[in-house]
Structures are given as structure tokens and as C-alpha cells.
């Protein structure tokens, strides 16, 4: 057991999975000697060589297309997209192609590939280094999407992703990379895809969230506790498939649901969570299903004051908790 940051847990997991399985390779922009722009692959090229840690040309579609081709020919590639904002040229190879390999070949072929994508804002990234891109992937049958928010979950879910025989999109929130620390066991473990976790038990209200907003929600819950409101915080951890049972169980038990996300709310993860709660918990609710997110603007302004105004914060979440608790 040791205390690690999220990025340290990611790097250690890549290393241990590459040691464990010779078919695991890493490819992407600057993943070699540079060690990745966030240092997720730091040192891997020294241990595993350039055949397994492949610096690619600056071309996202081929990063994912090549990963897909290697995946159907015996390897378990881990493609790194440098920033989520740059994934759009590769959407065709992921949403269009990889997601349908098993289905479109009636199970003859499969694509055991992982795509790691640093996403999210609050890092002065402006319009093109701040985006949340989870919805398009989460909408797609045939893809798994995970979004770990803690070092422990980052290790367990990345290990699961690499060992899964289908494409898995691993969304790592950039702001959590060095901000969030936690204990990580030294031994090997995995976390199942599709399982949410109650990160803070409570009785008065359920917050459903993921990513950086987990940490902001936990802070808001502590502030609310001072005011006598006991908030339960559920970390989705997997965005496709959603853990419908965990969401419904908690919302039914507390009777109030607040969904918090950094992504813009229209047609989003919070829309789907709200629909699940509406369908499964209607008679147990004693307040409206409430969503908190940023305004419907292109995420997100570079200017520091506007960025802060755009991003949800612990204070904004506390205000939403207070308002919902008074209903």
C-alpha cells in the first residue's frame, strides 16, 4: 500500500500490465522518450523498448485505427489520445468501427483495445484542452466507457480495461492527475466495469456524479453536513454501462437525487441518470430530480474568471443541495 496520485497510479498500472502480458503495447503521440505530455508513460520505453511503446505520427485516426488492426491480430493495444479535444478525428475508428467489430462479424472478430483519454477542464485549457467528450462514446453500443476519479479506481479500472476483450474508453480527468491522492494497494486487483460505488454514505439526499465532480461533491457534502444535511455521494465510475441498480437503490432510499457533472447537461450522462431515476424511483421520490452542470456554452472560456464561472464548484453544489433539501 502506498499513497499515489492518479497519474502515478495510471503509470504504475501500465507498467504492471505490460510486465504481466507481452501482448500489451502502448501507442500514441509523445508516449516514448517524452513519456507522454502528462508523464503517464514515463520510463516505459526504457523498460519495454520501442516495439511496445510506439511514438506515432501526429494523426489520431491512425492511432486508433492501427490499434484496432493490432487488436484483431493478437495484441492488446493501449492507444493514448493526448487530449480529449483531439479525439474527434478518431471518432470514426472508435464509434464507427471498433464498437461494431464483434457485432458486425457475428463474434468472429473482437477488438481487445483500450483508449486512454485525458479529459475535462478547470485547468486553464480553453476551448480545446478542456472538453468533456464522454457522451458520444457512452451512447454507443459495443463500447465500454469508464471514468475513474481516484488513484485506487484508476488502477483497478485500467487493469480491467486492458484485460477486457472489447474496446474500452478510459477517461482520466486531467485536473485529478496530480490533485487527487489516495492509497493504492501494491498487489494486483481489478474493478468490474459497470459498478458504481458509494463514496460517502448518507440518508437525506443522493448525489450521482463522476470524475472531478466526485471530489467537488464530496467537499460540498461535508459542508452540507455542518448544516445537518446528510448527503450520499455515488461515484458512477463506469459511464457505459451505467450501474442502474446502484443509482436506483440509493435514490429510492434517500428520496432525493441531485446529478452533478462537468459536461453540459443537454442530452448527457445526467439526462440518462435522470431518466433511470424517473423510471425506477418515481414513487419513492419526495423532490424533483435535479441536475447541476455548467451553462450550455462551448466548454470552456480561457479567461480565469469566466472559466471559474463556467465550472461547477463545491459552493455551487452546496447551493443546489440546500435548495433541494428545502423542498
Amino acid at each position: 500500500m502506498s499513497e499515489q496520485t492518479v497519474i502515478e497510479a495510471v503509470r504504475a498500472t501500465l507498467q504492471s500490465e505490460m510486465r504481466r502480458d507481452g501482448s500489451v503495447i502502448v501507442l500514441g503521440e509523445d508516449v516514448g522518450s517524452r513519456g507522454g505530455v502528462f508523464l503517464a508513460t514515463d520510463g516505459l520505453i526504457d523498460e519495454f523498448g520501442e516495439n511496445r511503446v510506439i511514438d506515432t505520427p501526429l494523426a489520431e485516426s491512425s492511432i486508433c485505427g492501427v490499434a484496432l488492426g493490432a487488436a484483431v491480430n493478437g495484441f492488446r493495444p493501449i492507444a493514448e489520445i493526448q487530449f480529449a479535444d483531439f479525439v474527434w478525428p478518431a471518432i470514426n475508428q472508435l464509434v464507427g468501427e471498433a464498437s461494431k467489430v464483434r457485432y458486425g462479424t457475428n463474434g468472429v472478430k473482437a477488438a481487445p483495445m483500450t483508449v486512454r483519454i485525458p479529459y475535462g477542464g478547470g485547468v486553464r485549457g480553453g476551448l480545446y484542452h478542456s472538453q468533456s467528450i464522454e457522451v458520444l462514446f457512452s451512447h454507443t453500443p459495443g463500447l465500454f466507457v469508464v471514468a475513474p476519479a481516484t488513484p485506487y479506481d484508476a488502477k483497478g479500472l485500467l487493469a480491467t480495461a486492458i484485460r477486457t476483450d472489447d474496446p474500452v474508453i478510459v477517461l482520466e480527468h486531467k485536473r485529478t492527475y496530480r490533485l487527487v491522492k489516495g492509497d493504492v494497494p501494491d498487489e494486483d486487483y481489478t474493478i468490474p466495469i459497470g459498478k458504481a460505488e458509494i463514496k460517502r454514505p448518507g440518508t437525506d439526499m443522493t448525489i450521482v456524479t463522476y470524475g472531478l465532480m466526485l471530489h467537488y461533491s464530496l467537499q460540498a457534502a461535508e459542508m452540507a453536513a455542518v448544516n445537518g444535511i446528510d448527503v450520499e455521494v455515488i461515484d458512477l465510475r463506469t459511464l457505459r454501462p451505467l450501474d442502474e441498480d446502484a443509482i436506483a437503490e440509493s435514490a429510492s432510499r434517500t428520496g432525493k437525487a441531485l446529478i452533478v457533472q462537468e459536461d453540459t447537461p443537454a442530452v448527457s450522462i445526467s439526462s440518462e441518470v435522470a431518466a433511470i431515476i424517473g423510471e425506477r424511483c418515481f414513487f419513492d421520490l419526495d423532490g424533483p430530480i435535479t441536475r447541476l452542470g455548467p451553462p450550455e456554452l462551448p466548454p470552456m472560456p480561457f479567461s480565469p474568471i469566466q472559466e471559474a464561472a463556467f465550472m461547477p464548484s463545491p459552493e455551487k453544489i452546496l447551493a443546489a443541495i440546500t435548495k433541494l433539501s428545502e423542498i
Partner: protein, 339 residues
């Protein structure tokens, strides 16, 4: 053929007269089946078809230069004759077009010629043009990392040459010196858009210089020539010398698909001219010049092909469609998740 396969310096002699005749038989059978599919479309039984008529020689000759026991083939929707050359039976082909339960490629989930072949490593994941090229680079990269001498052939049309994925794939393959053959069947039309509106340069093959590997232009109606250049590219790839771009000049004798009408955009002169480049007729004439075929034996081949296609049509027409419950199978590995 195997007796001379290790003698690449003498490639033009690798195709014996007997083997040429067998390739001709494959081409004729492909032609009859292709024509039948078009008729089945007009009968309302085949929802869509893209014909390989005019492309048969190049596809059959390319496959002949490879080793189906270990090589990989990433095809696109017009690879009808290539699939026949790789041993797909007429019944198997028709099950795809008629969307029947036992379609071996995708169990009728996808358009014909999409999915994965049950016996050779031939696949075609999607209808999106040129996506197979980066995937082929990944397949070839995997072989290189494994130390395998398998070769990957990726087929595409002139239309695909305009896509960004084509550039990305060729660039990646050049950098990594991959055992990969980029095989372009240039029929001069991307549906209706003629080649002069697709590119300023004279050939697709000329672009290979930008990626650091050879580009070869070949007459795609000439079985012997296509086999020769493909064999050289295969030998080069197996020897670890990297990719080759082959551009085979062919004719698309029919409209783009059964939903197209090429008289809307092709001149009568153009249509008449291309009929003179029918590869089945060209190979028939060559075989007759070499006394490997005469009018009687040619007629026998045609009659046998038609009979074979009739049998396959009757068989497959009577087969069932897949049941609704099977459409839920194979979305993801059942161990992995709970979609």
C-alpha cells in the same frame, strides 16, 4: 505454381497455362454469380449489390500472388471476385446478398461482403470508405512485432484515395516499414465523380513517393501483369523491405451499385470504350491464343458456371432469414459487461 514460387526473378512464368485456365474459370463463375445477384436485386430479393464486373482479373490475380493460409485481406465492398478466389462458395456469397441465416460473414447483420470470413483472414468491418487502411497498418504492425512473415493486403478504390485515413495509413506504414500491400483498384469513378475531379496527379501510385515506398501502376485487366507486380510486392513485404502501393487500372462495367444509373454521368462513348476492356473477354482471348482454350471448351466453362449458379440460387433462396432473437448476440463479450 508452388514449384516456381521461390523464383521471384522469373515471376512472369509462375502462372502455368493450367493455372491460368483455373483462374479464368474462377473469373467466369464470379461473373455469372455477379450477374445473378443483379437479377435477384431486380426481383426484389437482394436489397443491394455492388458489382465486381470489370474488376475480376485484378482481384483474382492479386489473391493468386498471396498465401491464404497466413496472409490477411482487408477488403472493401467490391471484392466479389477476390472472395471467390479465396474459396468462398457461390452459396456463401448468395447468403450474404440474400441476408440469410447462414451468411458466413456477418449472419446477415451487415451488407454483403462485410464481416469476417469463416476460413481465411479476410474481413471488412464497415461501409465507411478507407477506414480499413489504418486497420491494415495495425494488422501488419502486429505481424512485424510477432516476427511473422505474413503479409497484409488492403484493397481500396480510387475514391478511397482521397480520404485522410489513406494518407495516415500510408504514412504510418512507411515509417514502420510494414509488410503491407496497398492495393488500389482504380476504375476512375467515385460513384459519379470522375478521376479528374478526384486528383490533380496522374496516378494514385505516384503518391507512394511521398511515403517512402514504391508505387506501381499496372493494367488491371491483365492477369499475368497483376500477378507479377503483386508477387514482387509480396516478396518484398515478406523480406522485411516494407510496403508497396499497387494501382490496378480497371473498368467498372456496371453502375456503382444496383441503386445507381451511370448513364446519368458517363458518356455513351465512355461506356462503349470500357466494354472493350472486359477482363473476362481479354483472358479468354489470351487463353485461345495460347491454345489453352477453344470456343467449345469456353462454352463448356460458361455452361457449367451458369448451372452452378442456378443450383446455388435455388438452394439459398429456400433458406431462412435469421430469427429475431439472434440479433442480440455478440454485442460485447458476455463476460465483459451487461449491455
Amino acid at each position: 505454381m508452388s514449384a516456381t514460387a521461390n523464383n521471384p526473378s522469373n515471376t512472369t512464368e509462375q502462372l502455368s497455362g493450367a493455372r491460368l485456365l483455373e483462374l479464368y474459370q474462377t473469373m467466369v463463375l464470379s461473373r455469372y454469380l455477379d450477374e445473378r445477384v443483379w437479377l435477384l436485386n431486380r426481383q426484389g430479393k437482394a436489397a443491394i449489390a455492388a458489382s465486381a464486373q470489370g474488376h475480376e482479373a485484378t482481384q483474382v490475380a492479386c489473391v493468386e500472388a498471396t498465401d491464404p493460409s497466413k496472409d490477411h485481406y482487408l477488403i472493401y465492398y467490391r471484392q466479389f471476385a477476390a472472395m471467390m478466389a479465396l474459396g468462398t462458395t457461390p452459396e456463401e456469397m448468395l447468403r450474404g446478398f440474400l441476408a440469410k441465416e447462414d451468411d458466413p460473414m456477418s449472419a446477415a447483420r451487415q451488407f454483403p461482403l462485410h464481416g469476417a470470413h469463416p476460413r481465411v483472414d479476410l474481413f471488412n468491418f464497415s461501409n465507411v470508405i478507407a477506414t480499413q487502411l489504418p486497420q491494415a497498418a495495425g494488422v501488419a504492425l502486429a505481424d512485424k512485432l510477432k516476427g511473422s512473415d505474413a503479409v497484409t493486403v488492403v484493397f481500396f478504390g480510387d475514391g478511397a484515395s482521397s480520404q485522410g485515413d489513406t494518407h495516415e495509413a500510408m504514412n504510418f506504414a512507411g515509417v514502420h516499414k510494414l509488410p503491407l500491400i496497398f492495393f488500389c483498384e482504380n476504375n476512375r469513378y467515385a460513384i459519379s465523380v470522375p478521376i479528374e475531379k478526384q486528383m490533380r496527379v496522374e496516378s494514385v501510385a505516384s503518391r507512394a513517393v511521398g511515403y517512402g515506398f514504391p508505387g506501381v501502376l499496372v493494367d488491371g485487366t491483365d492477369v499475368v501483369a497483376v500477378h507479377e507486380v503483386t508477387k514482387a510486392a509480396v516478396d518484398r513485404a515478406r523480406a522485411g523491405e516494407g510496403p508497396t502501393l499497387i494501382e490496378a487500372s480497371v473498368e467498372r462495367l456496371l453502375p456503382h451499385t444496383t441503386d445507381d444509373d451511370h448513364t446519368r454521368y458517363r458518356s455513351a462513348e465512355d461506356i462503349a470504350h470500357m466494354a472493350e476492356r472486359d477482363p473476362v473477354k481479354i483472358l479468354s482471348a489470351l487463353l485461345k491464343r495460347r491454345d489453352l482454350l477453344n470456343d467449345d471448351s469456353d462454352a463448356e466453362i460458361h455452361a457449367a458456371s451458369k448451372k452452378r449458379v442456378n443450383v446455388a440460387t435455388d438452394t439459398v433462396d429456400a433458406e431462412p432469414y435469421p430469427s429475431v432473437d439472434t440479433m442480440f448476440d455478440h454485442v460485447v463479450d458476455s463476460v465483459g459487461g451487461n449491455f
